[in-house]
Amino acid sequence: MNVRSQISMVFHLDKCIGCHTCSIACKNIWTDRKGTDYMWWNNVETKPGTGFPALWEDQDKFKGGWEKHNGKIRLKSTGKGRIIPNIFHNPNMPSMDDYYEPWTYDYQNLFNAPEGPDQPTAKPISMVTGEYIDIESGPNWDDDLGGSPIYAANDPNLEGLTKEQRLQLMSIEQLVFFYFPRICNHCMNPACVASCPSGALYKRGEDGIVLVDQKRCRAWRSCIAACPYKKVYFNWFTGKSEKCILCFPRIETGQAPACFHSCVGRIRYLGVLLYDADRIEEVSNLPQEELIDGQRSMILDPNDSHVIENALKNGIAESTIKSAQESPVYQYVKVWKLALPPHIEYRTLPMLFYVPPMAPVMAQQKAGGLDSISENLFHDIEEARVPMKFLGNLLGGGQEGKVLYALRKEKSVRWYRRAVTVGDVDLETAERMLKEADCTVKEAQAIYELTSLCTFDQRFVIPPAHREEAIEALKDPMEHKQGTGFGFLSGPRRGL
């Protein structure tokens, strides 16, 4: 057992209101520079929809992630030997057209325009060329466009849905959408890292954050194609790849990342997971339907004395283990099995998990009232407006079972709380539902508390980074004084 600690994440989709505050917080801190203008390390997508960059989930087009090949897994794009003939031109790299051409507006014209019969306008200007452009797409171009025949109808997750189900998604009074906020998943088996010819991408041992070493990146562009989530971006000005850094300077000082901190709906949870790094290759290679269980089995119980012993042996600090024991992510992912990895069939083993959204499910009701009691109390979940198959494609590795399990539990908790607080449904029925959903009263109470009443400190359980001790162990802290910061003496620029 090779215990490693990772700062992992849960996004509770049932709480996301699609306000994009997370995206703006991130943008203002990290990607407000020339060359990064089109990047959205954090973005919020409307599902069903084509996302950003458009159709990123279509791996026949982008060839991201891993695939099974002769009993092993290999990169779908250009790993190992295949990088040599493809290094001059990456065949799977998206172009700026797949994202959008970043723009601002000619605000000066509002002040400087000569007097005339019309109101002056601020025409859009490309942030790349500085020329006037016609805006053709943007980072959230299909925002709230559920039911759109251009965007929603082309969502790659609709694969396997019947014609009736697709029509139902588009019919005017049945329209449905939910939000899907995305950052880098900081995967256990990252395809971007495995694809980098320079070895510039790496996973941090202590907390599993995946980073691009800016000084080693040589613009071979393999990571852009290899990441199936399209969360590595190419800085067109400096000629370097950049990606979400999970705000590591904030995490190291005990603060939640900016997108987490600013989240209005409080949908985001951050905490330590301990996992067995020896099993990465084995689990990545499992049959598709076993991947979710495989990844869950890699996540170790931080209260198990054997795990603690091995963690200490690997140099994981006691404070980190304690943090793992209090991790909200561990509860959601492993204990309650409510949170699911996005598209685990890409085999990168993402460490960001999503609680599937329940709201559109509950909203589908006949004229008879909100919830009519039937023999099967969960019947409306399977008749939901968002077909289970769609959620299964997105979060269940192509299977509906895991999503259904989570939704049933979510619904039973909601029902139970309704019996306790509103009292218009009887407690006995609610408890029967909990039982059928594989949940206890105690667990339901815990889920309710962490979902609805959670404080800042319960949502973000950040272990101390112990950087100061690591520095002291290596050199005189006073000597380190000059070596802090990002190590750049001048601003990043293009070429010499």
């Binding site: 001059f88 060329t129 790496y202 941090r204 041992g205 000629g239 070429g495 010499l496």
Partner: protein, 224 residues
């Protein structure tokens, strides 16, 4: 008889060029490793990119390999060329690769200066480099046409000259009698070498790395 011009160009310039290459590359790598990048523009323009980069890179690699072979194993080249058929084969292959390079290079230049996004990321160094490379490839093709059988005479007279440079005892007697076209090709080659470390060409220096042998995943621990 060697003029001052010949001495300057063929006995001094090579050392200045190589010295600049080594000194600037090392210093740049040590203090400005961030600037080591191929500065790819594939994100900004993805269609013509293929038709420019692929012919150019394969072409120039083949041409460079030809020059290197003639330098490293002149005897083998000469004995290969002893049969006319094999000589023609080698010459035609070399010329074809040079034309491929030129096609790619022209495509690169056209692509770069007809696309408004690419103009934004073009620097004066890029322009100078293109000029040097075009001059080098065009003179190379002209030499192959006007002064044929270069694979033989390179091995016979240029290889000894280059070797004399390597042993720090430059013997320019091989060069002085050569036609101006060939002299210009050689001089420009040294200029490319000297200008190399100031351009994006430094990406060539950072290709060799253990990617093919390393484990797929890279993990770094703090302080390592």
């Amino acid at each position: 008889m060697s003029s001052y011009f010949d001495i300057l160009m063929f006995a001094a310039l090579p050392y200045v060029a190589v010295f600049t290459l080594l000194l600037v590359s090392i210093q740049r790598y040590r203090s400005q490793s961030f600037t080591f990048s191929s500065l790819s523009t594939q994100l900004l323009e993805n269609k013509r990119h293929f038709w420019a980069m692929v012919p150019f890179h394969y072409g120039i690699l083949a041409v460079f390999a030809g020059h290197l072979l003639a330098f490293l194993m002149p005897r083998a080249i000469l004995s290969w060329n002893s049969a006319p058929m094999r000589l023609y084969l080698l010459e035609v292959t070399g010329l074809a690769c040079a034309v491929l390079t030129l096609v790619g290079l022209i495509a690169m230049i056209v692509r770069r200066f007809t696309n408004s996004k690419l103009r934004v990321v073009s620097t004066p160094a890029d322009v100078i480099l293109y000029a040097l490379l075009v001059f080098q490839v065009v003179t190379g093709i002209a030499i192959a046409v006007i002064h044929p059988w270069g694979s033989s005479w390179f091995a016979a007279s240029l290889t000894p000259y280059l070797r004399s440079l390597f042993i720090f005892n430059p013997d320019i007697s091989y060069i002085v009698g050569m036609p101006m076209l060939i002299k210009l090709h050689i001089i420009n080659a040294f200029l490319v070498v000297g200008f190399f470390p100031f351009t994006r060409l430094v990406h060539i220096l950072v290709i060799p790395n253990p990617y093919l042998w390393r484990k797929p995943q890279v993990v770094r621990w703090y302080g390592e």
